[in-house]
Every structure is written in C-alpha cells, then in structure tokens.
C-alpha cells in the first residue's frame, strides 16, 4: 500500500509532468521544404523582359523596378497568390520558390506564351487609338497617322474600312496598351499560357 502510494507520488508529483499535463501542446508544425512561399531572388541578372508580369494572374502582385544593382522583380505581399507562375515563366531564373525550379529541370518543362486579340466589330468605331498606341506598330511604322491608317501591311493592328483589323497577331507582346486606350472596350487581349513538356523534342 505504502509502496504503491510512493510509486504514484514519484510518478505524478514531478514538476515537469504537471507542467506538461496543464499545458499540453503538440510541437508547432514546420513548413515543409516543398511549400511554394513568396518568390525570392536567386541573384541571377534580370534582363527586364517582363515575362513574370505577363504570367502573373493576380493584379498588382509583381513589378520590375530599377534599383542601383539593376532591374529587380518586386513581389507585393497581400497581392501575390503564391502560384509560382512567375518563377516558371522567367527565362533567366531570377526568382525561386519551393521546388519549382528543380521540378522544372527534372520534368523538362517550359512555359510558352501566345496572345490572341479579339476586336468586337459591333463596338469598334475605327478611331485607331489602339493602332496608334501600340508599341509594336510604332517600331514598324513610326509615321502612322492619327486615324490608325497606314500603307504597309506589316503592322500588328491597322484601321481599314472604318474598323480595326488584326494583321499579324504573332507580333503581339501582350502589353495590353491597345486595351487600355480603347474608348469603347472593343478590343481585348487574351493571354494563352501553355506548358510544354520537353521543349527540345517539339522543335
């Protein structure tokens, strides 16, 4: 009797035991290494191609700014949804997050971009704002008149017969300047993002 009481006292009157009993908590869970957190800089040189900004699905989540060390992508926490598309899309590997870069290397995958421009012919008034504002058009024909009319057919956008026409959609860089300058919301740029498996075999 006395022995068993002594045994119980030895077992339960320890301060450590009492503390554990009163404040039972599991150890805090650690973040696994494969977790895609906010993208971080790897230290590689950014060439200001802005592909990360084009791939980003969240408004205002990423921008590329000029710093004393050169161009640097900047992630806005509170806007970023941690999807990792900027990490995958960057051709220079400037950003890293989780195991995305490793899995891209092992799976041999790559993201490719193409763009589609839709002009709503019922809404289009043929004002030519889109064709004049387009930076790709500006490189091809710097002397384009204010109505968007031009003699050459090498342009991306051109106004003829009172409507805007898309001539060479493959030249589009997806900047959406035309969409922002359209007074009637007639032109829409759609971004087509495609993941390619083993890009060498495709070529």
């Amino acid at each position: 009797m006395a022995l068993s009481l002594l045994y119980y006292a030895q077992e339960f009157l320890r301060g450590e035991w009492a503390k554990k009993f009163l404040a039972a908590k599991t150890a805090p869970l650690v973040t696994p290494p494969h977790f895609r957190n906010y993208p971080e800089l790897t230290g590689k040189t950014c060439t200001h191609q802005l592909i990360c900004m084009m791939a980003c699905p969240a408004p205002g989540a990423i921008d590329v700014v000029m710093t004393p060390e050169g161009w640097k992508p900047r992630i806005h926490i509170g806007h970023c949804i941690r999807c990792g598309l900027c990490v995958e899309a960057c051709p220079n590997g400037v950003l890293t997050s989780g195991r995305i870069l490793e899995s891209m290397f092992y799976d041999n995958t790559k993201l490719s971009f193409s763009f589609r421009i839709d002009v709503d012919t019922e809404k289009c008034m043929g004002c030519g704002n889109c064709a004049v504002a387009c930076p790709v058009n500006k490189l091809i024909d710097a002397q384009m008149s204010h109505g968007g009319r031009a003699s050459t057919d090498d342009l991306l956008l051109k106004v003829s017969e009172g409507k805007c026409h898309v001539l060479h959609v493959e030249k589009c860089t997806g900047c959406k300047t035309c969409e922002n300058h359209c007074p009637n919301e007639a032109i829409r740029v759609a971004r087509l993002l495609e993941a390619i498996h083993s890009p060498e075999e495709e070529l």
């Binding site: 805090p28 869970l29 408004p59 205002g60 926490i77 509170g78 806007h79 970023c80 941690r82």
Partner: protein, 150 residues
C-alpha cells in the same frame, strides 16, 4: 499589478473566442480556417475556441473582398462584439481584393476602410499555421491588462 489582474491575464490568454465572417470570398480561406479546427492543427489546445457568435467573440476573422451586400451588416456585426475586441483580415482578399479587384467588379476592398483591422494574414489562402500564429501573436497585446489600460 494586482493578483486579480494577473489571474485575469492568465485566464484570458487561455481562452480566446473567435468568430469568423465571410464577406464575399471564394471559400478557400474558410476552408483553411476550418482546417485549424481539425486534429492536425487543433487550435483548442492553444485555448482558441470558435463559436461563430459575435456576442461571445474576442477575435473576428474577416475573410473575403467585401461585396456590396455587407455594407451595413459588417459594421453592426463589429459593434455587437464586446470590448476588448480585435479584427484580423485573413487572406489577400480583405487586404487588396486579390484576383477579384479588377475593373467592373463590385467588390470594395480593403476591409480596413469599413472596420478597424489589427492584423493581416496575407496569402491566397494563408497556411493554417500562419492564421494560428497571427491570432496567438495579436491576442496578448490586445487582451493583456485591458481594464488597467482603459
């Protein structure tokens, strides 16, 4: 500090009552809050209880990008919570509107325009551990020595 006050502090640190309100989210953050209740994260071991009744709550978790249907309801819900109270924005939506904050949408973020927000947990959705650590880090600063400070 009196003995009574220190006793109150101990008790308050071990019982944080939480209500959550979804002011128009995609339901992703609601599921992450729900995951906190499940055995893997188990918030009750930290003394956090979810009642979902503003009259009993100390902490209000605001989820979502604030749709027009909440214009008067969120204010009155916030006034129903007895002092001391604190609101935490969960996810990107109450902070910036996230993906819903585009032209021609009706959402009106950030939620801090409508009720005072003490802490923000960014993420789309945030991890349950991030939600948990936000509640645990905000609660002591708000509830400790509440009567003495007033």
């Amino acid at each position: 500090m009196t003995l009574l006050q220190s006793l109150k502090n101990i008790v308050r640190s071990k019982s944080i009552h939480v209500a959550y309100v979804d002011v128009g989210s995609c339901n992703g953050c609601d599921i992450e809050v729900l995951a906190c209740l499940a055995p893997r994260y188990d918030i009750e071991q930290y003394g956090i209880y979810v009642h979902n009744n503003p009259r009993e709550a100390d902490v209000l978790l605001v989820i979502g990008a604030y749709t027009p249907g909440w214009e008067e309801k969120l204010q009155s819900l916030w006034q129903k919570i007895p002092d001391p109270k604190v609101a935490i924005a969960i996810g990107n939506c109450p902070i910036s509107g996230c993906l819903f904050n585009r032209p021609h949408t009706l959402v009106d973020p950030p939620v801090s325009k409508h009720i005072p927000i003490a802490a923000q947990v960014p993420g789309c959705p945030p991890r349950p551990t991030e939600i948990l650590s936000a509640i645990l880090s905000v609660a002591p600063t708000v509830f400790k020595d509440f009567e003495v400070r007033k």
